[in-house]
C-alpha cells in the first residue's frame, strides 16, 4: 500500500484589526463570515459555533434549529492561536473517528494589523479515500464543485 504524505494546505490573510479583534471575529463570530453555501444543514446555515475552550464543540446550526457537528476545539489561546479538529470525511459526513487539524495563528503586525495564518494538515488521513478518485468523483466532488461554482457565479 502506497502511503502519501501530502503537504498541508496553507493560507494566510492580513487584516486591518488587532489580534484580539481578528481572533474574536474568527472564532466567536464565525457565523458572520462563513460562506453559507458551505453547509451541512437541511434548512440552510443560520450560524456556526466554536466553543473557544479545549474540548469545546465546533458545529453548525440550521435555520430550523438543527445542529450538525463539524469537529471540536483541541487547544485555544486567545488571541494567539486556536487548534481545531476538522472531522468531516471526504463525503462531508461527520465521523468521530476521522480527524484532520486546522490550526489558525493570529500574528500581530502592529496596533491595527494582524496576519492570520491557517494550516489544514494531516491530509494523509484522507489518503485511502482521496486515492479512490473514480469513486470520489462518482460520489459527488464533481457535483459539489458545480454546485459551488453556481453559487459563486
Amino acid at each position: 500500500m502506497h502511503t502519501i504524505e501530502p503537504a498541508p494546505v496553507r493560507k494566510s490573510v492580513t487584516v486591518r484589526a488587532s489580534a484580539e479583534k481578528a481572533f474574536d471575529v474568527f472564532v466567536n463570530d464565525m457565523g458572520s463570515w462563513w460562506i453559507k453555501g458551505h453547509s451541512l444543514t437541511e434548512s440552510g446555515q443560520k450560524t456556526v459555533v466554536v466553543e473557544a475552550v479545549a474540548g469545546g464543540r465546533w458545529y453548525e446550526i440550521g435555520n430550523a434549529g438543527e445542529e450538525r457537528d463539524w469537529g471540536h476545539v483541541i487547544a485555544c489561546d486567545r488571541p494567539n492561536r486556536i487548534l481545531l479538529a476538522w472531522q468531516l470525511n471526504a463525503d462531508f459526513t461527520f465521523d468521530p473517528a476521522f480527524h484532520t487539524e486546522v490550526e489558525v495563528l493570529f500574528e500581530a503586525k502592529g496596533d491595527n494589523e494582524t496576519t492570520v495564518v491557517l494550516e489544514h494538515r494531516q491530509l494523509a488521513n484522507y489518503g485511502a479515500k482521496a486515492q479512490d478518485v473514480g469513486g470520489m468523483l462518482d460520489s459527488g466532488w464533481g457535483g459539489l464543485l458545480a454546485s459551488y461554482a453556481a453559487k459563486v457565479a
Binding site: H2, P6, V9, A17, V25, W34, A130, Q131, L137, L145
Partner: protein, 103 residues
C-alpha cells in the same frame, strides 16, 4: 483552462483514471504501466503528461527511465477543493473583520 478544469478533464478519461489509480497504488515507469495495460507506451506517456499538468502525478528520473508517483503536494480533487475552500473562507473573514463595528 483553469487548474480545476484540467483536473477534472484529466480524470474524466477512464484510461487516464486507470493509469492514475495504478500509479497511486505503486510508483512505476511508463514501460511497467504499458506491460499491464492494453495501451501503447506513447499513449501512456501522453496520458501521464496530462496527469502531471493537473498536479496529480510527478516524475523523477531513474537512469534512462522516469518513475511516476502521486504528487505529494497534491491530493487530486480533494486538495483542489480544500485550497479553494479556505481561500474563499479567509477572504470572507477579511471582509467581515474589517467591516465589523469597532466598539
Amino acid at each position: 483552462m483553469t487548474y480545476e478544469d484540467r483536473l477534472f478533464a484529466a480524470l474524466a478519461d477512464p484510461t487516464r483514471r486507470a493509469i492514475f489509480e495504478r500509479v497511486a497504488g505503486q510508483r512505476q515507469s511508463v514501460a511497467e504501466l504499458a506491460r499491464t495495460m492494453p495501451v501503447s507506451q506513447p499513449a501512456i506517456s501522453q496520458h501521464l503528461k496530462i496527469l502531471k499538468e493537473a498536479r496529480l502525478v510527478r516524475d523523477v528520473p531513474s537512469g534512462a527511465r522516469r518513475i511516476y508517483s502521486i504528487d505529494p503536494e497534491g491530493l487530486g480533487p480533494l486538495r483542489a477543493w480544500l485550497d479553494r475552500f479556505w481561500s474563499e473562507q479567509l477572504a470572507a473573514f477579511k471582509a467581515a473583520v474589517e467591516t465589523a463595528d469597532d466598539s
